[in-house]
Point group: C2
Chain length 206, copies 2
DNA sequence: GTCTATAAGTGGATAGAC
DNA sequence: GTCTATCCACTTATAGAC
């Protein structure tokens, strides 16, 4: 394990550092949103200096776009891979839908893909990021419809469930799981048996 | 009608001014989010000076909380009133659900209630606003469950649909209705016959 | 590849006049 | 009830050293 107290970051290849920053950025932007997060917070989370973050990506906006792109790609891969699996292909529609739903919840637990996406969806007003986010959303819609063989209404319902999950996460409703009965009921029926995944903030290991 | 070019706002009662500011804030925060919006933008939208906005509400944060509270109350009233109507009570569950869905879309068209709420749901990390937003969400959940007589799963599905609508709005997906076939399909099946409501930004009349 | 120093700009909030 | 002036903190981005 790396020491926590080092004041200068070790010298590592740019490509690797890039990934580290993207991971850190996913966590920070995912929690605080684009406007609410600072490049300095990202830098601290990544263990480097703020100017280096900016230098690596050119600007805060470009960093966020990279993040959105990466998150979208991972989501695409995941859904695509799930739909391509033989056991899944063998299921009926209803079964495939449920399987996809669980795959989405899995994604939530593994890395900070979902949160940055959710934050991006709020930025429709931004000329650059908004365009990006809309396109990404539509890519996922088409993937589900075409590769999944679902009707528009079915895709809509699936997306709707995803948006509820996103909302509960960004709201940090999980904080109330232990103390509020209503929250527990809602979370339970939104996340199903996979509820445990979201119940503890998993510290991101490097 | 009031002249647009006046450089000083006319002297009006504080209570009335308050409402104006809240209306303006709903539009600005709804579009740009809490962190992304400035008190100066709110002030300009309301036709007054930036310090006056701050003075009236104490701080940006308090203004936003007021906004959230007001939005929540209006949503509550609306849903509650809809559920209390005799024609609605006479409907079966499925019918009530559909009616509520349309009532929600109506709300989108009438005033800026939905957008600020949606933006608030992204602020779970904020100690003050997050608490507020979570509570509001749960209030609506309970209202639907108890006054509507729905099961948790039914309420979940209703809320999910609402979150999809929120997302499409904050994404400004409606911008693509005219130019992108996929977007048209998605919007069509998310908003149903009420799609017209969201297709033109209605300028807020005073 | 990474940092320190810092410029330049923005935004929330306060003070006090009218 | 409303404004002008202004302070101060914060944030992004640049320059240049190591």
């Amino acid at each position: 394990m790396s020491s926590v107290s080092e004041t200068k970051a070790e010298r590592i290849p740019a490509a690797q550092r890039r990934e580290q920053i993207l991971d850190a950025a996913a966590a920070v932007f995912g929690e605080r949103g684009y406007a609410g997060a600072t490049t300095d917070q990202v830098a601290q989370a990544a263990g480097i200096s703020q100017p280096y973050v900016v230098r690596m990506f050119g600007s805060k906006e470009k960093l966020f776009c990279e993040l959105l792109l990466r998150a979208r790609q991972r989501l695409e891969e995941r859904l695509s891979a799930a739909l391509a699996r033989p056991e899944v292909k063998a299921l009926d529609k209803q079964g495939r839908k449920q399987f996809l739903g669980r795959a989405y919840v899995d994604l939530v637990g593994e890395a900070d893909i979902v949160l940055p996406l959710a934050q991006g969806f709020l930025l429709g007003h931004d000329p650059v990021i908004g365009k990006y986010a809309r396109e990404g959303f539509l890519v996922i819609y088409r993937l589900l419809r075409d590769e999944g063989g679902f009707t528009p209404e079915e895709v809509r319902d699936f997306l709707a469930g995803g948006m509820l999950i996103n909302t509960l996460l960004t709201l940090q409703m999980t904080e109330l799981y232990g103390s509020d009965e209503t929250a527990r009921e809602l979370l339970g029926c939104a996340f199903g048996e996979k509820i445990d995944i979201v119940l503890h903030d998993a510290g991101t290991a490097s």
